[in-house]
């Protein structure tokens, strides 16, 4: 049943805005602008520097790549809880002694294959095994972390100096911006194109919005669903490369709780958990809001407890700002 709304429905469309997408993003932009304003006021010197901007983008890059994949899965009516664990597994696999032998390119390919493979397993379980996505990917979360621990013997695996090329992604800058930010940007752009300009994207909305209708319209819903999870896994693989670059390590502890962060970014960005609606731009804006909040707190030296309280309040306020545009959710 695709139409089960998860929010209290108002009269079906009392205020249905015909151009709600732009408006919804407007709300996010306002929230973002407010945060920037706070940054400018509280830490004028540190916040508005190009350096800090780059630093925010670098912080956002890893999870940002994952968020792109998560957006697809969620629009397609699913959910992927395994993202953080799959990224961890990919990072561990790519940094084993055996893999590192073959140099940075093979390491990168390894990460991507492991990520995509795990995603494919998720996809098979959900699409053909008919497991509820929440459960299938939860199982993958648990198993992937276990496997990562096993492979690494619970050690943090350093990227060897001769595979420095991986780490260069974080340290080499072009026009003052680290390569990994370009990778992030590229994934976002490709994701946007895939979602908005291709049949794959259109089918993703259909599969998530009304799977039965999609099926009767001749879409291979199962295959498509499987591909969505594989895509999410692919993104985890790419993210694994970025986290290896940033931390110079592969570790079973990487990506802890990414699933929550990624889903939160997607949803604050206006994608419905029930599927069928959403945008990449929204997800990225949502993610940036979260990242900037944390950055601001640290710049201002707030302690974690206060950070948490403030974060809760800010989330509520940010979402209230776009509330009006969300009124017409699925009835």
């Amino acid at each position: 049943m695709a139409e089960a709304g998860r929010t209290v429905a108002e009269a079906p469309a009392t205020t249905a805005a015909p151009r709600s997408f732009e408006l919804r993003h407007l709300g996010l932009f306002v929230a973002l602008a407010l945060l920037v304003a706070v940054g400018l006021v509280t830490r004028p010197a540190a916040f508005a520097t190009a350096d800090n901007l780059v630093s925010i983008l670098s912080l956002a890059a890893t999870i940002g790549v994952i968020t792109v994949g998560a957006t697809f899965v969620i629009i397609g009516g699913g959910i992927d809880l395994s993202v953080g664990a799959v990224m961890a597994l990919a990072s561990v696999w790519a940094t084993t002694v055996a893999t590192q032998e073959f140099g940075p390119v093979v390491m990168a390919i390894c990460a991507i294959l492991v990520g995509t493979g795990a995603g494919l397993v998720n996809g098979l379980l959900v699409a053909y095994g008919r497991l509820v996505p929440f459960i299938a990917t939860l199982a993958m979360l648990v198993a992937a972390r276990g496997l990562a621990q096993r492979m690494s013997d619970r050690r943090t695996q350093l990227v060897r100096p001769d595979n420095q090329a991986i780490v260069d992604l974080a340290t080499t800058r072009v026009l003052g911006v680290p390569l990994l930010v370009y990778v992030f940007a590229l994934v976002v752009v490709l994701g946007w194109i895939l979602l908005n300009r291709t049949t794959f994207g259109r089918r993703t909305y259909a599969v998530g919005g009304n799977p039965e209708a999609a099926r009767l319209a001749g879409i291979d819903v199962r295959r498509h669903t499987m591909l969505l999870y594989a895509l999410s896994g692919l993104c985890c693989g790419i993210a694994a490369i970025l986290i290896m670059a940033r931390t110079t390590t592969g570790s079973s502890t990487h990506g802890d709780l990414y699933e929550l962060d990624a889903i939160a970014a997607v949803i604050i960005g206006g994608t419905l958990l029930t599927g069928g609606r959403g945008t990449i731009v929204g997800s990225i804006l949502g993610l940036l809001i979260f990242t900037i909040i944390t950055n601001l707190f640290i710049l201002n030296g707030l302690n974690t407890s206060d950070q948490l309280i403030a974060k809760g309040l800010i989330i509520v306020v940010a979402v209230l700002l776009q509330r009006r545009n969300l009124k017409e959710r699925t009835p």
């Binding site: 670098s58 050690r155 340290t171 570790s251 030296g301």
Partner: protein
């Protein structure tokens, strides 16, 4: 740095030192239960491994580890199951000493001696012996290293940054207190502190933003060498070199960095996971009714606090064999 490092037990698979009194001679067969938090980072992993390795050396130990978990509720059940299995002694590294106090007390009351490892139970009735590191002392050691060095350089009003471990652990609070107290003796104080979660990634994230917040830093103390890998990566990424850094715990990786002198990491203060090996040995002795043969007393002492030592480029050679892998 008072102890001779050679006197400390070796990090991994330390061979039982042939000691006076023949304490290592096989005695009555004893089952030793072991419960610790989930091995989700190097230090805890080293704890688990050291405990297991120590147990393996004694044919008279039947080692019974239970599922490590970060959920208190589950650790309570795990310990309960060991009590129900009537083990001869228990070694417990609780997620939180206060929260596990009750079950430890029950175990003790059931006649099972408890060796409390690292995080301490508030109630002395709850355990037979405590062995652990000196968290306050660790902070003090780091504070002295930083304070002295800055004083020597003649820096006034230094920017000192502290990256803590998990904020809600009492040991984190102890470490910070020791650090602040030691710095105070030099007239310095901590400029900014943030907590990470003992993982490489969180260390990296927190450091990235802290480096943005403070464009010029004089010294940085990071509580934990595991998360320190991430901290160092962030520092390299930002290309910052104007300060020096002190680590915590004493991982192999940190020691190598110190040895190579290629990074800002100049020193680390120890908090050695070898304590787990010792804890198993103590549990065995207690269960078998023996004392520590190097001591005069007939029984194992009630508490043993390891000293926190400061490892620098000068003495790192000696410590390398003790470093645990992150």
């Amino acid at each position: 740095t008072s102890n001779e490092p050679s006197a400390a037990p070796a990090a991994s698979a330390p061979a039982p030192a042939p000691s006076a009194g023949g304490n290592d001679q096989p005695g009555t067969k004893v089952t030793i239960g072991f419960s610790a938090p989930a091995a989700d980072h190097g230090w805890i992993a080293a704890i688990a491994k050291n405990a297991e390795a120590a147990a393996k050396q004694y044919p008279d130990i039947d080692f019974k580890p239970v599922e490590p978990t970060n959920d208190i509720n589950q650790q309570i059940s795990a310990v309960e199951s060991l009590v129900a299995a009537k083990v001869a002694a228990l070694v417990i590294l609780p997620n939180d000493g206060q929260q596990l106090n009750q079950v430890a007390l029950q175990a003790t009351q059931a006649g099972i001696p408890v060796v409390n490892l690292d995080r301490v139970f508030p109630d002395k009735l709850a355990y037979r012996t405590w062995i652990g590191g000196d968290n306050y002392g660790m902070g003090v050691a780091a504070g002295h290293y930083i304070g002295k060095k800055l004083k020597d350089k003649g820096v006034t009003n230094p920017v000192i940054v502290e990256i803590q471990g998990i904020a809600t652990l009492p040991l984190t609070q102890d470490r910070s207190k020791g650090f602040a107290d030691a710095l105070k003796t030099y007239g310095f104080s901590v400029t900014a502190k943030q907590d990470a979660k003992f993982t490489v990634e969180t260390g990296n994230q927190v450091a990235t933003s802290l480096l943005q917040a403070h464009k010029k830093i004089d010294a940085l103390w990071n509580h934990d060498d595991d998360q320190g890998i991430g901290v160092l990566a962030a520092i390299k990424e930002a290309g910052r070199k104007e300060f020096f850094m002190v680590g915590g715990a004493g991982s192999l990786n940190a020691m190598k960095e110190i040895q190579s002198g290629s990074s800002v990491l100049e020193a680390t203060v120890t908090y050695s996971p070898t304590m787990a090996s010792s804890a198993i040995k103590l549990a065995r002795l207690i269960a078998q009714g023996k004392g520590m043969s190097d001591l005069v007393e007939n029984q194992v002492p009630q508490s043993i606090t390891l000293a926190s030592e400061t490892i620098t480029k000068e003495n790192v050679e000696k410590y390398l064999p003790l470093g645990f892998e992150s």
